[in-house]
């Protein structure tokens, strides 16, 4: 199957600063793909390279089977794009924006645009400079979606949307994917992405540190273990066990993250006279924060 997006060793450096490093992704058609990372991780730079707004320092990207370096016009024809920190022309109204972009694309389905305007309760007849951030964002979403593109590339699409609109936006994404079209969206909010995305890539300091389905990421999450001992225990003994990370140590109480089998660590614990032990899988939030905090060297990719 031809990938909707395929990048190979995509890299962008500004002078000595590498914003995106050796990014290789494959996104199948009909998916909602979440691209997750903290601010400044390289999400927008990656997206700008996909949209050919910026040229990669090395590597390549293919969208809908076309090379982004040579086929940008055709790619743009079949792609919808919502920039991060969307800015519109302040003096024009939403409707003027929509009319102009629709015309530039050689016309769009008017009834679909009317639907979108109604669904998102867009204030379309006032200059956008008078509109709230959320309203401008909704106009940006319509500009990206209105020509029913095969591929939607959305940079922080839900920024400024209220909860009701979040919900509407998520159903729009699901409908898009159900029609076999592909959505690539970036976000720094896990919550939003895990509700909508089929697969997730987590990017940190320009590198993909994890790529998997939401379920797969959950499975890979470490056990969060908390042990109380009768006497104070030196955590060094536990640290020595492979797959164990001591996250908190307060004399008689020690908290651990355990990846892999728990047998070896239980043996060590047993030797130190434990009186209480709780263990639960890390939720995705903790895993996500973990990916952000730990060194980029800790890379995991799981098959989906």
């Amino acid at each position: 199957m031809r990938a909707a997006i395929e990048t190979t060793g995509l890299t962008k450096a500004y002078g000595s600063v590498t914003a995106v490093s050796d990014l290789s992704l494959r996104i199948d058609p009909g998916q909602v793909f979440g691209f997750l990372g903290p601010n400044g991780a390289g999400k927008s730079t990656t997206i700008r390279m996909l949209m050919t707004l910026q040229r990669p320092t090395s590597g390549r990207a293919a969208l809908l089977g076309m090379d982004s370096a040579t086929d940008s016009v055709e790619i743009h024809r079949r792609t919808g794009y919502l920039p991060g920190d969307l800015e519109l022309f302040p003096r024009l109204t939403g409707r003027q924006h929509i009319a102009w972009f629709a015309r530039s694309r050689g016309g769009v389905d008017d009834s679909f645009v009317r639907d979108l305007l109604e669904r998102f309760l867009v204030v379309a007849d006032r200059p956008v400079r008078e509109l709230s951030k959320g309203n401008r964002q909704k106009i940006g979403l319509i500009l990206a979606c209105m020509h029913k593109p095969e591929l939607l590339i959305l940079d922080e699409p839900s920024a400024g949307l209220d909860p009701l609109m979040h919900h509407e936006f998520e159903s729009l994404l699901r409908e898009t994917a159900a029609e076999g079209r592909t959505v690539f969206l970036s976000s720094h909010e896990l919550d939003e992405v895990q509700r909508t995305a089929d697969r997730i890539a987590i990017i940190r300091a320009g590198k993909v540190v994890a790529e998997d389905t939401v379920e797969g990421l959950r499975r890979a999450a470490p056990q969060k273990m908390e042990v109380r001992f009768r006497h104070p225990v030196n955590p060094a003994a536990l640290r020595a066990v492979s797959g164990v990370r001591v996250t908190e140590s307060a004399g008689r109480r020690i908290a651990l993250d355990v990846t892999g089998e728990i047998g070896p660590v239980l043996k060590v614990i047993a030797r130190h006279d434990p009186i209480d032990l709780t263990s639960r899988p890390a939720d995705l939030d903790e895993l996500f924060l973990d990916f952000y905090r730990t060194s980029p060297a800790k890379e995991t990719t799981h098959a989906g």
């Binding site: 700008r48 940008s72 016009v73 055709e74 743009h76 792609t79 794009y81 920039p83 024009l92 102009w100």
Partner: protein
């Protein structure tokens, strides 16, 4: 579609285009209407010849038709307004729109960057043409106020000034595309235009600067007494070639530009 960006940018610049044209037209009308009152005050002619007068673009006989129009419109205010318009638009159209974040939406449309830039050049030319036409119409009205410069010459000099404006506008566009900064584009293009003006005007009284005037686009549009002698083919050729080089530079810079 073909002319969409022209329409968009003209819409965005509508107020400033009308403002520039209306302002220049009113000023030009006042200047031509005042001519009969100054025509016979030949003492004014002694003003020219000094370096200070040259700095303001005053050369030749101030009370002659050509001298009056030159000193009051064609060698100073008209090019100044023309350059403000073209350099301003040149800097805004790429770097300014990129800085404000709107250019990304336009570049993500199914259109080559080359086509986008050509449309922006057209939009700039139309704005410049509105200004040139408004000024020319008012100068021609001056024929009813005893001014004798023929309509053809007035049109030719307006066209030459428009070409000079487009040249500097394209330089501003190219710098904007290369640096992504509107301020830098405005600054450098304005500095080049100011230097060009100074060289051309001072060359008339300071012999040492004389040969330098060939480097000045003002010399090739108004600085060589075109109002009396007419704009030559050589003048047009130089203005067009410079514009072509600036356009080529802008195209290369924009094709390579990393946008936001």
């Amino acid at each position: 579609m073909l002319a969409d960006i022209i329409r968009l940018d003209l819409r965005l610049r509508r107020r400033s285009t009308i403002g520039y044209a209306a302002g220049m037209a009113i000023y030009a009308l006042v200047v031509v209407a005042l001519y009969p009152s100054f025509k016979n005050q030949t003492s004014l002619d002694s003003l020219s010849g000094s370096t200070a007068a040259a700095l303001f673009g005053v050369t030749g006989k101030l009370t002659s038709s050509g001298g009056w129009l030159n000193a009051n419109i064609y060698s100073n205010f008209f090019p100044l307004i023309m350059l403000a318009l073209t350099i301003g638009y040149g800097a805004t159209s790429l770097a300014g729109q990129d800085e404000s974040g709107t250019l990304a939406l336009v570049v993500a449309l199914p259109m080559r960057r080359r086509a986008i830039l050509f449309q922006k050049l057209f939009a700039m030319a139309i704005q410049a043409l509105v200004l040139a036409a408004a000024t020319t119409v008012c100068a021609v009205i001056g024929q009813g106020f005893q001014l004798t410069v023929p309509t053809g010459d007035l049109s030719a000099i307006a066209l030459a000034l428009m070409l000079m404006g487009l040249d500097f506008g394209l330089v501003s566009m190219a710098i904007g595309a290369a640096t992504g900064r509107r301020g830098t584009a405005l600054g450098i293009a304005s500095a080049l235009a100011a230097a060009s003006y100074l060289i051309s005007t001072l060359a008339t009284t300071i012999p040492r600067i004389g040969p330098g005037r060939y480097l000045s686009l003002f010399y090739w549009s108004v600085g060589n007494d075109q109002i009396a002698k007419g704009v030559s083919l050589a003048d047009f050729i130089v203005l067009v070639i410079v514009g072509f080089c600036a356009l080529l530079t802008a195209l290369i810079a924009f094709r390579r530009a990393d946008l936001n």
